[in-house]
Symmetry: C2
Subunit: 196 residues, 2 copies
DNA sequence: CCTACCGATCGGTAGG
DNA sequence: CCTACCGATCGGTAGG
């Protein structure tokens, strides 16, 4: 996942973005102050502006890193030579692991994108809409091929995507099952919910 | 659903709370201004304080009306003489219809509760934790009675609750299936995901 | 990366 | 329910 995953070669700006994602996730974008972010980094608020243009730039950097990665993955999965149900399963596994490993960024992207400024807001919404339509398309193919039961595809997409974002509760829980167990449980429930 | 459902006999305060829920849902609690809320109501910001104590009071009135209703429903369902799977289905149908019909309040309760002030915040979190545990309890009973397949109950709860909150996307969508179709589709996917 | 500071906006109060 | 106004805090800039 590029910059998200590697811990080396992080520029100062990368570290700021990372800490911003943690802060935005915890308190929400609007409730997060630049002075607070600066404090986490051990500098004065004014110093942040030597690395970034604005608070809002931080938000769009976070949102688009996630959105672009997710678009790339759906590109890849669409062209695989496997059944539609398998495609849905692969996508789900990617989404689940994305939420497990990079939940701050993904959570911010999911919940705080509405504070994006134009033209980023419109771009983001368009990308999101297209992303959901492509997933619905895979499900519809699965229905035609009788791999998936006859359901409303957009509703299935809504369930899948929101269920995955619920992994945030897993992170917060005291007695955690392992990440692998979480993945398998979610796949078991969601995939058998779609099967014929 | 008490005050939420009836359109008559609304006090001025009830109207303020209703409009606050719409505003908080649309823009988020922190990004919603009291001047903005006043404008929707056609009054000056200062006049709001003749009916309410603070912005934060609005939030906790919204959150606890939902939370109390939901606790009452789980009370009721727990004591019914039906199978565990049927209990889960009834609960799901209630949650789905709650989100369809009162989505502003439910959405605010779901997403903005973290801005509650003490002692409301702690109370709310405790109520929420207990609520989830009770649902997990029903699922575990279902597993023991072999009505539900062997899965991690808290994970199933997480999927159900978050899937339901995704109904917000349905509200926003252009070409909506009917509310009844949405309900049946969600039940079909989620309940067959739990069955043996 | 810091000190010093700005204009705007916030929730809320006094007093009528 | 209004006018007038408050202290606090916000994102961000100037200048070094």
């Amino acid at each position: 996942m590029g910059k998200i995953v590697t811990k080396k070669n992080l520029t100062r700006k990368d570290v700021i973005i990372e800490k911003a994602a943690e802060l935005f996730k915890e308190k929400g974008y609007k409730a997060s102050g630049m002075r607070e972010l600066a404090e986490v980094l051990g500098i004065e608020a004014a110093s942040l502006y030597n690395h970034i243009k604005s608070k809002s730039e931080l938000l769009h950097l976070i949102c688009f890193e996630v959105a672009n990665k997710y678009t790339a993955v759906i590109d890849e999965i669409e062209h695989k030579d496997i059944s539609s149900l398998k495609k849905v399963e692969e996508l789900l596994r990617f989404l689940i692991n994305g939420m497990i490993n990079h939940y701050q960024q993904v959570y911010v992207c999911d919940r705080e994108w509405k504070y994006l400024e134009e033209p980023y807001l419109s771009n983001f919404q368009a990308q999101r809409r297209s992303y959901r339509k492509r997933i619905a398309g895979i499900i519809e193919q699965g229905i035609q091929k009788k791999e998936i039961k006859s359901i409303d595809a957009p509703t299935a997409v809504l369930i899948m995507l929101h269920a995955v974002s619920g992994i945030e509760s897993w992170h917060r829980s005291k007695q955690k099952i392992t990440a692998k167990e979480l993945e398998e449980n979610m796949i078991s429930i969601l995939i058998s919910g779609l099967k014929k």
